[in-house]
């Protein structure tokens, strides 16, 4: 779509966006979710400013409970500040969540669109591959990949993305199947448009709404998966993440609850935030609710 990406005069995005926002705003929960995510994004961006300490610097003040002067959320077994860790952890979670979901949605769109548009054998083949991927237990494969290829943020994103695309592919395929027989597709063919162009510039905008919804739910899923891997000690060892903090906290569940509660709260807030956004988007762009 490189050619159509230039901002051309008269193309109607701004008004559509305004209408969309008006519909989104109707749900308080959706607005709350958006607020939550914006707060997390700000925390991630401003981490160096917001965090009172370097999250990896140790001190002699270990296992202090919340409310300790200078450490409002307490410290862990190595004397690291929990609040600083929780703030820095936002970065990893959001980064992994968003990029992994974007990867999944991108792969899903391409495969689903091609399958739904061309149909026949192409469709059958691609859908069997999709089903194959769906049968793989996500978490087990993630564990396997990390165990085989080592830990690292990039690998994590790739693994989560590669595991999450089938859902998007099935959704996009279904949407394309119903759109490919639409008359405007015939009209586009009559204008001499090649298949890829009909897929991306004619049909895709029609089916994007549910994909965006799925994408935001995928972000929540990816955050959860990343945290789970971190909990099992398979996160990137060089970065502070909520999952990694939970991993540390395992040994102290009985005597230092604050080590697990605050990173866990971060995960919960992020997941809830993206899920609320997903629901809000669904209500706002669901074509059946239009007009």
């Amino acid at each position: 779509m490189a050619t159509s990406a230039e901002p051309l005069e008269g193309f109607a995005a701004p008004r559509a966006l305004r209408d969309f926002w008006a519909r989104y705003r109707r749900s308080r929960l959706a607005v709350g979710g958006l607020g939550l995510v914006i707060a997390l994004v700000l925390a991630a961006i401003l981490a160096p400013v917001l965090a009172p300490y370097d999250p990896i610097s140790t001190s002699l003040q270990s296992l202090r409970p919340p409310g300790t002067p200078g450490h409002p959320l307490g410290t862990d077994d190595l004397g690291r500040d929990i609040l600083s860790g929780a703030i820095w952890g936002t970065r990893v979670s959001l980064l992994v969540g968003v990029t992994a979901a974007a990867t999944a949605v991108f792969i899903g769109i391409v495969i689903g669109a091609v399958a739904g548009f061309y149909g026949g054998r192409t469709d059958a083949l691609l859908m069997r591959v999709t089903e194959l991927f769906q049968t793989i237990p996500r978490f087990v494969l993630a564990l396997l990949v990390v165990a085989l290829f080592g830990r690292g943020l990039g690998k994590l994103v790739l693994v989560i993305g590669l595991l999450a695309w089938p859902q998007a592919a099935r959704l996009v395929r279904g949407q394309f199947l119903s759109q490919t027989s639409a008359a405007y597709v015939d009209a586009a063919r009559a204008l001499g448009m090649p298949g890829w162009r009909i897929i991306f510039s004619e049909i895709l905008p029609n089916v994007l709404a549910p994909v965006v919804v799925l994408g935001s739910l995928d972000v929540a899923q990816a955050i959860l998966l990343e945290a789970s891997l971190g909990f099992f000690g398979l996160g990137d060892p060089n970065l502070v993440s909520w999952g990694g903090m939970l991993n540390q906290a395992q040994a102290y569940l009985r005597n230092a609850w604050w080590m697990s509660v605050f990173p866990g709260l971060g995960i919960a807030l992020a997941v809830i935030g993206f899920n609320l956004i997903g629901d809000g988007l669904n209500d706002a762009i669901n074509p059946r609710l239009h007009e």
Binding site: T3, S4, E6, L8, E9, G10, F11, A12, G120, A182, A183, Y184, D186, A187, A188, R189, A190, L191, G192, M193, P194, R197, S201, E202, P205, N206
Partner: protein, 328 residues
């Protein structure tokens, strides 16, 4: 006058699970440059499939052109591959379809869609300006404003104008209009027909009009071709065909048109219906319904017989057959 479009023994078949059918069977037709040709027939007579066959744009992948040639301005379209054919579609052959409510993409503005039709062949530079110009040409008020609207914000007549703008934005040599007014109410129909006539005159465009409405053909076209069950049964200049049809099917068709005479509406209906194209009757396909049927009609496919300016595929025009078998 040279011919812009020539269909030469064109045959298109559709293979379905329940057998194959031939909706376009050995169709030959000449469309002189600058003329308006009407292709008339009942539903299922193959007139739309004939139009789709010209640029091989079929509603189903099961359809394919089996034999025959299509020449556009001397170029044989059957030798072109898909990519070359795409450069013909839209640019040299514009198409207007029946139902204006569904032929526009609901999520793109009208201007975007017309601009894209242009950009497809000439690039995005100046596409928007060209789109606005085309929307003006088809008589939409305030084209710059209308271009920013979505299809659902326009009335049926305006949408059909927008579709026509999309079809003519590249100034095609040939405009194929498939039932362009069927889905519209009568006053809008007249406006759209006026518009097509006017665009033809302005742009020197050749028009192939596909319709079941004889009135529309009489009003718009110089030449008329009548199709029945996948074959052309009669071709000729519009006026003589309407005044003295040479094929019994055309005669029946004209007789069954509603005529209002002396405040009396007379409706006559032709007996029978279009045959199932999977099992077409042998010989002349019209013979089961023909009032003048002769033994030869049941077994032999009639060739086109010239009768003055017209040609008709009917054995009645073969003196030998009539002398042998015809009723006194």
């Amino acid at each position: 006058m040279s011919d812009l479009l020539v269909l030469d023994h064109l045959t298109t078949r559709i293979d379905t699970a329940r057998g194959s059918l031939v909706p376009v069977d050995d169709v030959s037709l000449r469309v002189p440059a600058g003329s308006a040709v009407g292709l008339v027939g009942e539903s299922g007579s193959g007139k739309s499939m004939t139009a789709f066959s010209i640029v091989r744009l079929f509603p189903t992948t099961a359809a394919r052109v089996q034999s025959g040639r299509v020449f556009l301005d001397g170029q044989d379209l059957m030798t072109l591959d898909e990519a070359a054919l795409r450069r013909v579609r839209g640019r040299r052959v514009g198409m207007v379809f029946q139902d204006p409510s569904t032929y526009l993409d609901p999520v793109l503005t009208v201007g975007e869609q017309v601009a894209e039709a242009w950009a497809m062949h000439f690039g995005w530079e100046g596409a928007w300006e060209r789109a606005v110009e085309a929307l003006g040409q088809v008589g939409l008020p305030e084209p710059a404003e209308t271009a920013r609207r979505f299809p659902h914000e326009l009335s049926g007549g305006m949408r059909q104008r927008a579709i026509i703008a999309q079809a003519i934005v590249c100034r095609p040599q040939l405009l194929i209009a498939d039932e362009p007014t069927t889905a519209l109410d009568v006053t809008i129909q007249a406006q759209i027909l006026d518009l097509l006539r006017q665009l033809r005159a302005q742009m020197g465009m050749t028009l192939l009009l596909i319709t079941h409405d004889l009135g529309v053909v009489a009003e718009m076209c110089e030449i008329v071709a009548v199709m029945y069950a996948g074959r052309i049964v009669e071709v000729g200049p519009a006026q003589p065909v309407f005044l003295s049809p040479r094929h019994p099917y055309t005669q029946g068709l004209l007789a069954s048109a509603v005529s209002v005479q002396q405040a009396q509406v007379i409706t006559r209906v032709m007996e029978g219906s279009v045959p199932d194209l999977r099992h077409p009757p042998a010989g002349c396909r019209f013979h089961p319904r023909c009032p003048h049927v002769m033994p030869t009609c049941r077994t032999e496919v009639p060739p086109m017989f010239a009768c003055e300016g017209q040609t008709a595929a009917c054995w009645l025009h073969d003196p030998a057959v009539v002398a042998r078998e015809g009723r006194p």
